[in-house]
């Protein structure tokens, strides 16, 4: 790897690294750290952080509770149409956020049958916190499902068979064998879904609107401040960068120390 080719590779790496890290470094470099911390003290910023935390936690709870058994079924059974089903589940993964917003409005918006039924049942979705949770769940769930299916598929089938032969019920096998064995993969999926949910912007704005403390999550608060208070926008961005870095690091930790060295 010597000569011009080596130089070419090094130049490409340097270019990629600069391009990818410079904007992130700039978030922290534009203002002294003290100003960023002060800007976070503003009431609206705290509201946004707290709302993002609550809605993301609620979305993750839904995703884990429903996604885990669903992924287990898809991973351990072979049936006709399975590949198609998995593709359908993965579709929101590649969907632009604006499309997700329009799709949610078309499906459960206030002028739709489902949306009206939900409202009559006392569940307000559009322009309400519950709507944010729906938007986050819709865009983040595929990230978890994908990882969970792969994690369950990677379990040695003889392990599950052995559990069954030893007299454990299918439910017990799921709880005591499948989940512990697939845990690193499930956690990695959780972290990816968490990251996607925290960053959600377009679908939330279109479906849930933007209101401080109710539907204005951190990305929406950043957009709201971008024109009027750039420092506050930088401060909130810095928080998201830190959280995202922590998520990435924990995924790598869960996957074993090798993943960090690599």
């Amino acid at each position: 790897m010597s000569g011009w080719f080596g130089v070419l590779l090094a130049v490409a790496l340097a270019a990629a690294l600069t391009f990818l890290t410079l904007p992130i470094v700039a978030i922290f470099a534009q203002q002294p750290p003290g100003e960023l911390v002060d800007a976070l003290g503003e009431e609206g910023a705290l509201d946004a952080l707290w709302l993002s935390l609550r809605t993301t936690a609620a979305a993750l709870a839904l995703i884990l509770m429903i996604g885990t058994p669903a992924a287990y079924l898809l991973a351990t059974r072979r049936f006709r149409g399975r590949a198609g089903l998995i593709t359908l589940i993965e579709l929101p993964l590649v969907l632009p956020p604006a499309v997700a917003g329009i799709a949610l409005l078309a499906a459960v918006g206030p002028s739709t049958l489902l949306g009206r039924a939900a409202r009559d049942a006392g569940l307000q979705l559009t322009l309400a916190t519950a709507g944010v949770v729906v938007a986050l769940t819709f865009v983040a769930a595929p990230f978890y499902l994908r990882q969970a299916i792969a994690a369950f598929e990677a379990i040695d089938p003889t392990l599950l068979d052995a559990s069954r032969t030893l007299g454990a019920s299918p439910a017990r096998t799921f709880w005591r064998v499948a989940i512990p064995t697939a845990l690193p993969g499930l956690l990695a999926g959780t972290a990816l879904a968490l990251g996607r949910a925290l960053g959600e912007f377009g679908a939330t704005l279109m479906f849930a609107g933007s209101f401080q403390g109710v539907t204005q999550t951190v990305p929406l608060a950043i957009y709201d401040r971008f024109a009027t208070d750039f420092t506050a926008a930088l401060a909130l961005s810095a928080v998201l960068v830190a959280v995202s870095a922590a998520i990435l690091l924990s995924v790598k930790l869960v996957r074993g120390p090798d993943a960090i060295a690599r």
Binding site: L205, A227, T228
Partner: protein, 250 residues
């Protein structure tokens, strides 16, 4: 080999700057940042602008002003107020701005009736309202109107706000989707919604003057065409289009 690669890189970069939609000929390309509420009118007239191929981008005026402050290369700035162009001019980011149109703030409601039939109805609990965020011209005009209602009434209305939208199109969207019962938008937006919305005019004593200001960006790459476009907004094809879209004289 290296030279070939470098050349390929340059070509790729050049490709990015090129607009595939530009029709043939040597027309300069003019970038116009305009307030969301100008969308229908300017989209209609920009095609016929003789001096350049116009590329329009629409957003909340405050977002566009922030972009210009950050150095985004734009030739013309057309805002939904005179305040933002004046501020940019004071910062030497914009040449002397002019006012080229006016608009009427109205209360928009769904055309097929609904909960709101008057300004007073906005104070009732259970009514859902979408308005512009603070700093966005339509949001500032709305707050000015509410301020003139007196503190008590103004607070009752603000308590019904369900969304502070980053631009006027967001308010229209929430209205046409039925997410809210009413919203403060411009008369021209109701016009543009093609029969889906109905405008409730505000009493004259509450009405703020929504004046639209525009100017040539100091760092414009096409200052001559930009100047010509601002003139066109003042008295030309685009001015006619604005009047046709429900705007008024400045």
């Amino acid at each position: 080999m290296r030279r070939a690669l470098a050349l390929a890189g340059l070509l790729a970069l050049a490709g990015c700057g090129d607009d595939a939609t530009v029709s043939g000929g040597e027309q300069p390309r003019l970038v116009v940042s305009a307030a969301s509420s100008l969308k229908e009118a300017l989209t209609a007239c920009a095609k016929d602008f003789p001096d350049a191929t116009v590329r329009l981008q629409f957003a909340g005026s405050d977002e566009l002003a922030a972009q210009i402050r950050q150095g985004v290369p734009v030739d013309v700035f057309a805002a939904a107020n005179a305040k933002l162009p004046d501020e940019l001019a004071a910062e030497r980011k914009l040449e002397q701005p002019v006012t080229f149109a006016s608009n009427q703030l109205v209360l928009a409601v769904p055309a097929d009736g609904g909960k709101v039939d008057s300004l007073a109805a906005l104070e009732r609990s259970g009514v859902a309202l979408a308005i512009g965020a603070e700093g966005v011209p339509v949001g500032d005009y709305t707050r000015a109107v509410l301020g003139r209602l007196g503190e008590e009434r103004s607070e009752a209305v603000l308590a019904n706000v369900r969304s502070n939208e980053p631009d006027v199109k967001g308010i229209v969207g929430k209205l046409t989707q039925g997410a809210v019962d009413a919203g403060f938008v411009y008369a021209s937006d109701v016009e543009a919604a093609g029969g889906e919305l109905r405008a409730i005019e505000l009493p004259a004593e509450l009405e703020p003057t929504a004046t639209y200001g525009a100017g040539v960006v100091t760092a414009a790459e096409q200052p001559d065409a930009a100047e010509a476009f601002v003139d066109d907004l003042l008295a030309g094809g685009c001015h006619e289009a604005l009047l046709a879209a429900g705007f008024g004289e400045p």
